[in-house]
């Protein structure tokens, strides 16, 4: 029996390509506009901006923070993943959930929790601590998934050929997880570069905070634009660097059928330190801040200042705006995800990777560029909910692409063939078979975008309609003046509201797995890979 490879359709799907190109163009327009604006600015003014001594310092701080946080997250994430995937760990399921938990925590919320407890925390070390621990799951989850897909067969062969345990790990397992480590590191570096709230709370000056300051002081918007272009350049350098580091090795590993026996290592005397490591990450990123938050909510001072009407309207705004953002993100991602799942070729690859490039766009840059774009091209839309929802769509489209691509790719093309031969047109087949079966994945894409939009801070600060405050904005306005007690209810409300789509997401995931098991009961690897995509 030969493996059924999805045969590329010999006919170019021009309609789908056109729709994808429109989506990519829509997502790219604001940033392109920003870059053009900077490039075509008066050279003398540009030179003046660059002469300020702050710029090298800001770039240096951003790079320093991104590298140190990435290194820490990899150092903590890879052993965590090994503990979760390859050792005889007690309560593995519980530890796996705890390891993913920091993903639910916006950096500014974690920072806020720590500050409410230790108001003296500030500067590089404080930002490093909170960002590192919050972003560990970006490494742990994909690496654990890669470890579960791969086998230890090569390690075993290496051992029999005379290598030691570490040597055989480097020979057998490391090549299997290297792409996942790089991908996780990429996410952490991008996350750190684009983080605004956490860094701002600890008063560590980096590019994002400087952009926000320059923007608020409305006379230096050119400086904000220059800084934004610098930040985008840094982010693109990280993306390109990761692609370069991954090289051809990644593809070779992915192509090799590595599924096989997995040897589980007994922990022995490493049980205590291992468990401590797995406990430390969620403790620093989630448990401490949430505990502080909850205790603040219950104090008399908080209860006196509490304004239920304002909270309710903030919740309503958050839900509506994030739902709008999710709709835009899915609409932009749908043609690209389907195209990437079903077709191959140079055009398709180019469209898909351009779609993923938005992953490197910091929220503050998208916010700023949409401000400029709407002001100069469609002033009527400036500071409307439409622009904010569109900004969310651009920001979270890459997450939606991954989920839609994975879900569509899981629907066997033979089902479409059967539907066609049974008399159903291409469009009807897509609706009744492909989309029907990919529905949980499309829904997951929307939920993923919605959760991200709810927690988003810098673009929301810039783009929100005047007077329309979301939970994140309310929280931010209160933490800024150190009104920790008053901010607490908004923080708790944000956590609870964001938990709803997260909960639906895990539900959708369960549904999708049921579908997949009906299609192919034994694709454990597929399931794991999918978990990685969702994460």
């Amino acid at each position: 029996m030969t493996a059924q490879v999805a045969t590329p359709s010999p006919r170019r799907p021009w309609g789908l390509i056109a729709a994808s190109l429109v989506a990519v163009a829509l997502a790219a327009i604001p940033v392109v506009h920003l870059v053009v604006r900077v490039v075509s600015a008066d050279p003398a003014e540009l030179a003046a901006v660059f002469e300020r001594p702050r710029i090298p310092m800001l770039v240096g701080n951003s790079v320093l923070l991104a590298t140190s946080v990435t290194a820490t997250a990899v150092a903590l994430g890879v052993p965590s993943a090994f503990l979760l995937a390859r050792t005889r760990l007690r309560w593995r399921g519980l530890w796996a959930v705890l390891a993913a938990l920091p993903l639910a925590m916006p950096s500014y919320l974690a920072a806020y929790g720590w500050l409410a407890w230790q108001p003296s925390m500030k500067g590089f070390w404080a930002a490093w601590l909170v960002l590192s621990f919050v972003s560990v799951p970006y490494v742990t989850l994909p690496v654990a998934a890669a470890l579960r897909i791969g086998g230890t067969g090569l390690d075993d062969v290496a051992r029999t050929l005379g290598r030691g345990p570490l040597g055989s790990f480097m020979l057998g397992t490391w090549p299997q997880i290297r792409p996942a480590v790089l991908a996780g590191g990429l996410l952490v570096a991008l996350y750190t570069l684009s983080d605004f709230g956490g860094v701002a709370l600890f008063r560590f000056p980096v590019l994002t905070t400087a952009i926000q300051q320059a923007y608020s002081a409305s006379f230096s918007r050119d400086e904000a634009a220059v800084l934004a272009v610098l930040l985008v350049t840094l982010a693109l350098l990280v993306v390109v660097g990761e692609q370069f580091a991954r090289g051809r090795a990644a593809r070779r590993i992915q192509a090799a059928p590595t599924a096989g026996r997995r040897r589980m290592t007994p922990l022995g005397r490493w049980a205590v330190p291992g468990t401590a490591l797995l406990a430390l990450v969620p403790a620093v990123a989630v448990v401490v801040p949430v505990a502080v938050l909850v205790s603040r909510v219950l104090t008399a001072e908080t209860l006196r200042e509490f304004d239920p009407a304002n909270l309710a309207s903030a919740i309503g705004n958050t839900v509506l705006l994030s739902a709008g953002g999710a709709v835009v993100a899915v609409a932009l991602a749908l043609p690209i995800g389907v195209l990437a799942a079903r077709h191959r070729g140079r055009i398709v690859r180019a469209v898909e990777s351009t779609g993923y490039l938005a992953l490197g766009l910091p929220g503050i840059v998208v916010g700023l560029s949409l401000v400029f774009f709407s002001l100069s091209v469609v002033p009527a839309l400036y500071q409307t909910a439409l622009v904010l929802a569109f900004g969310y769509g651009v920001l979270f489209m890459p997450k939606a692409i991954g989920s839609i691509r994975a879900a569509t790719g899981q629907v066997p093309t033979s089902l479409e063939d059967v539907s066609r031969t049974l008399g159903n047109s291409r469009a009807r087949t897509w609706l009744t078979v492909t989309a029907r079966l990919a529905r949980p994945g499309i829904f997951a894409a929307a939920m993923l975008a919605a959760v991200s939009a709810m927690k988003e801070l810098p673009a929301t600060l810039m783009l929100r309609p005047t007077g329309t405050d979301t939970l994140a904005v309310e929280l931010w306005q209160r933490t800024d003046v150190s009104a920790y007690g008053a901010a607490a209810p908004y923080a708790v409300a944000l956590l609870l509201v964001a938990a709803v789509p997260a909960f639906l997401l895990s539900d959708a995931r369960a549904g999708r797995e049921a579908t997949r098991e009906a299609i192919a009961p034994d694709t454990r690897a597929g399931r794991e890979a999918n978990r990685e995509v969702i994460a």
Partner: protein, 378 residues
Amino acid sequence: MSRLEVRDLTVGYEGGPVLHAVDVEVPHGELLAIVGPSGCGKTTLLRTIAGLLRAQSGEIRIGHRMVTTHGIHLAPEKRRIGWVPQDAALFPHLTVAENVAFGMLAGRGSSRAARRAAKSDEVRRLLDLVDLGPLANRAPGQLSGGQAQRVALARALAAGPELVLLDEPFGALDPMLRADLRASVRELLRAEGVTGILVTHDQAEALSIADHVAVLRGGEVLQLGTPEEVYQVPATPWVAGFVGDAVFLPGVLHGDEVATSIGRLRAVPVTDAAGLAPADGDDVTVLIRPEELRVRPAGSGAAAEAAPDGAAARAACAALEGIVTDVEYTGHDAMLAVSLADGMRLRARVTASGLVPRGTAVRLAVAGAVLAYRPEPA
């Protein structure tokens, strides 16, 4: 009149043509098996007939309708065909009955419509036909591979197709199930009077199930004929080796005999695709099927005396001594490797009663006439 006619069909991907000028024909109500090694283009041919791939040139006619001809490509949903893929491809969100019902909706397929139609008598009839009546409400994930294939067949038949296309439908099943399902699929197609095309890489399957066999290699049809024709008079030595075990010997043709290293054998020259037959005095490749070699223990008298076809005298055109060097025992028969005195090794198939142990000295004889081919260009 034939139900399917494929004329001069050429299909290609970007890398170049996969099928070259293919001609195939299937009479009404009969089953054609397309066999060939991996990558020979057999699945491409099937997908092109289904309309899932586009042809570069050539014609495909289903019944009275031309579905592919120069510049015209009828969409797969308009071809009135049934498609049974290797993985059965049952819709996972529908039950067994709903899957079959989906086939009856003729272009108006939807989950809700399938749910309604699942209760119809026609669905019940089709499920009973494939012996799956009791499993009507199962989810596809709860079926075995063989059951899933039968549901896929029932679904394909539900649409009332003129032609059913089966793409390696038994490929993923274990051998026991395969034989069972094979027989019931053939019976079903006959009972329903549906014309069928089956793609397989298993020559034994093709010979046992089909009314006609097309042997494909490198995108060309090397031979189209009944199973008997293809096995007994293969168009080329390659076809002979593909559809069964074969012993090849070099020889020289002399009239109706051929001179080989094992003596002079009665021979029939075979005309090749270009219309050329080997002439007197030509070098030829001689084909002997292992079951045409009679094996007797050496010194047991005339080799031909016990030839079962009663043509003993005619059969023994040559007789040779050798040693059995290997025995592949399969139960119903056995394949012997026999080393001749000059070092040549031949394979001979014997029934269980003719089995001899390794090391036995034997005498070989060739029953009947052998085929002589023009040597294939290297």
